[in-house]
């Protein structure tokens, strides 16, 4: 315990940190919902939804960043109060043991729930990343075929018979 510690201030900061982590968790849960919607829009090629999801995502991220700033200020102050050698780098896990019992338990619960949501969020973000990379690769292939590669697949001749796909580039001829 820091000889300069102020138990009352530490309690107030601890409670503030709990509330901060709860808000962060709520924001991350909202973000998780948005990312799930984003995934759906990505695979269903719903461009309008993708656009609105992106705006919502941006708005949530700004709020998360604001809360993160608040969390960093609170953890630094608590680190100072508990006499941590580098208060700016103190982790919530390091703080729990220095807080009064009921606040310590509440903080620990908030921390665990936040970590769980963050883990889900990480998975969802990785899925979205894979989808986007795959889709962009796919689109790139078709775009490159449009401008300089072979005709795509087989078509039909005017009499209704199948025409082979190896007859040169109709796209090139047309776009000439």
């Amino acid at each position: 315990m820091n000889p300069n510690s102020d138990p009352l201030r530490l309690r107030v900061c601890g409670e503030d940190l709990c509330e901060n982590l709860d808000r962060l968790r709520e924001l991350h849960e909202q973000l998780l919902e948005v990312l799930a919607a984003k995934e759906e829009a990505l695979v269903a090629v719903k461009l309008d939804e993708l656009s609105s999801v992106r705006e919502e995502e941006e708005s949530l991220l700004h709020k998360v960043i604001d809360e993160e700033k608040q969390r960093l200020l609170l953890t630094e102050e608590i680190g100072d109060l508990i006499g941590h050698p580098t208060p700016a780098k103190v982790r919530v896990a390091d703080i729990v043991a220095h807080l009064p019992g009921e606040i310590s338990g509440r903080l620990s619960g908030s921390r665990d729930r936040l970590r769980e949501v963050a883990s889900q969020l990480g998975k969802q973000n990785r899925t979205n990343r894979a989808l986007i990379e795959h889709s962009l690769g796919h689109i790139q292939v078709f775009l490159s075929r449009l401008v300089n590669e072979e005709m795509l697949g087989a078509g039909y001749a005017s009499d209704g018979h199948e025409a082979g796909g190896d007859g040169g580039s109709r796209l090139l001829d047309r776009m000439g």
């Binding site: 919530v92 921390r111 998975k123 796919h138």
Partner: protein, 566 residues
């Protein structure tokens, strides 16, 4: 979410999205394909997992890939293509017909008739001139050859249309079979109608084939609940689900032309196309060209009968000592009215004039004709009973092949004919300038070609007599046809009629072409692939996905910071 669920979601999502992009690729590949209908993917989210704090999607699946097609527009386009094909064929037939009757080069029938009448006019000026006689016969042959040529071209065109019709029938059969096969494939692919409108490529191909079939014959297309179609031509079924009815070609003939009747192979019923190319071919082959040929035959027949009616009762520089009728009867004892003579006859008679060459004495014998009560044998007998009774050298008989033969056994006794108000001499082909009855068999009499002095320029008035020649020359300006038309007028009217029809066909074709193009444009705007639009779709997707990637790293960094700090 379990690892399995996550992987399954990714599989569904990637597959669905790949289908969406590949559908764009398919559209682009078929951008210039006639009849292709663009396709769009419809996706449906799969049921989501209900987590405590969120609804997590489990992916999407492609619910259907729909063809952007308006069935009513497709049907209208098929009808329009059928009309266009019909009018295209009509236009081709009229153009070919026009070329047969084209007189612009100066070598046509009008010129040939003019040349013949000019030669008759020349003969009337010099009735005793052997050169004028030879020239007349030459012009007569030229006229006959022109008619033969036109007749043969009509026959050739008719035979050509028959060949085209055979090809068209083969096409109809092939297309019907292929549509039936596609019906089977579509019914199987769509589970007998449970998954309607899902076999897009098969349906597109069937639509293309239906459009091609409609060009051959006007059809009605009715789709069943199973996804198969019934194809009706008029009231006759061509295709029903997986079965097609074959058409067959039955050889037949029309006079001197070998043709083919179109019948159903299963029950032998005649098939008369309504609309489309086949209809135009049948109409051209069986109605238009026979009509035109009849009109040409009428001109030729009227030329033969009118000229021969004068020539048969005229007289040449030398008179007849033997004449054999050009027309044969099948039953020598049948009444003349029922003997199927090529030209009309009526009750009346003609005069047989017997000439004693030594002194120029002439004796006339009236032969009465009772068309209903007199046979060819009776006619011969009446000649024998009248002229033959007075002049034993003169005799008449019916030959074994049913022709009337009148002859003189003494070269010093000849005969000639006068005043035939029954038309029997013309009908029997006695002493005519022309033989034959129509455009195909018209010819200058072999007897005259062998002895031009027999050409009847006069009427027994001796040297310089041009009576008959003048009468024949006057036919040029005589209204011998029902509408009061002269020979040339009748022919020009026929040419004019053909020209009007040909022009109408061209106009109709032009109008129908514009109508079809307008419908085609409507169809293209709905179902056609705009390659620029598809490319823009791809680029739009690309930009949307690039934008979607924008916060991926931000979130990763935030999460890393968060995990490390708490």
């Amino acid at each position: 979410m379990s690892l399995f669920s996550s992987l399954n979601m990714a599989r569904l999502a990637l597959g669905a999205h790949q289908t969406a992009i590949q559908t764009i690729g398919q559209n682009i590949a078929n951008a210039t394909t006639e009849g292709y209908a663009r396709q769009r993917v419809q996706m449906t989210p799969t049921p989501s997992d209900d987590l405590v704090f969120a609804q997590l999607g489990t992916g999407v699946r492609v619910s259907r890939i729909e063809r952007i097609v308006d069935e009513h527009l497709e049907s209208t386009l098929r009808d329009s293509r059928s009309d266009l094909s019909n009018l295209t064929e009509q236009n081709r037939i009229w153009s070919l017909t026009e070329s047969i009757y084209n007189d612009l080069g100066g070598g046509g029938l009008s010129a040939a008739m003019g040349g013949f009448f000019d030669a008759v006019q020349d003969l009337s000026l010099n009735p005793d001139d052997p050169t004028a006689r030879a020239l007349l016969l030459q012009q007569g042959e030229s006229l006959a050859e022109t008619l033969h040529f036109m007749d043969s071209r009509i026959r050739d065109l008719r035979a050509g249309l028959d060949e085209d019709l055979q090809g068209s029938v083969l096409d109809v059969n092939r297309l019907s079979r292929e549509i039936a096969a596609l019906n089977r494939a579509i019914i199987a692919a769509e589970d007998g109608g449970i998954n309607r409108d899902t076999a897009n490529d098969l349906r597109t191909r069937r639509d293309v084939l239906l459009g091609t079939l409609a060009e051959q014959v006007d059809i009605r297309v009715l789709e069943n609940s199973t996804g198969g179609v019934q194809v009706l031509a008029g009231s006759e079924m061509l295709v029903f689900d997986g079965r097609s009815r074959e058409l067959t070609l039955v050889p037949t003939s029309d006079g001197d032309i070998s043709l083919h009747e179109v019948r159903f192979a299963d029950d032998g019923a005649r098939f008369q196309a309504v609309g489309g190319r086949l209809d135009a071919l049948q109409e051209g082959r069986d109605a238009l060209l026979p009509d035109l040929r009849r009109e040409l035959d009428e001109i030729a027949g009227r030329m033969i009968s009118e000229v021969n009616a004068i020539h048969s009762t005229g007289e040449g520089l030398t008179r007849l000592s033997e004449i054999l009728s050009g027309t044969a009867v099948t039953d020598r004892n049948a009444p003349l009215s029922g003997a199927n003579l090529p030209f009309s006859i009526e009750d009346g008679g003609f005069t047989l004039q017997v000439v004693t060459e030594a002194n120029g004495a002439r004796e006339s014998f009236r032969i009465d004709i009772d068309t209903a009560g007199m046979s060819l044998a009776d006619l011969a007998e009446q000649v024998n009973l009248t002229a033959g009774a007075s002049h034993s050298e003169i005799s008449a008989a019916v030959t074994a092949d049913g022709r009337l033969l009148i002859r003189s056994s003494d070269p010093g006794v000849t005969f000639t004919f006068r005043d035939d108000d029954s038309g029997v001499l013309t009908a029997l082909g006695i002493n005519g300038l022309f033989t034959g009855t129509n455009a195909r068999d018209i010819a200058v009499s072999d007897t005259l070609l062998a002895d031009a002095s027999l050409v009847s320029a006069g009427s027994g008035g001796g040297p310089g007599d041009n009576t008959s020649a003048l009468e024949i020359a006057a036919l040029r300006d005589k209204g011998v046809f029902a509408a009061g038309n002269t020979f040339e007028g009748q022919y020009l009217a026929l040419i004019g009629e053909i020209g009007v029809h040909a022009a109408e066909a061209r106009n109709h074709l032009s109008n129908q072409g514009a109508i079809t193009q307008a419908i085609q444009n409507q169809r293209e705007s709905l179902s056609g692939v705009n390659i620029d639009e598809e490319a823009i779709s791809l680029i739009t997707y690309q930009r949307a996905y690039q934008a979607a990637a924008r916060f991926l790293s931000v979130i990763d960094q935030l999460l890393e910071t968060l995990i490390n700090s708490v």
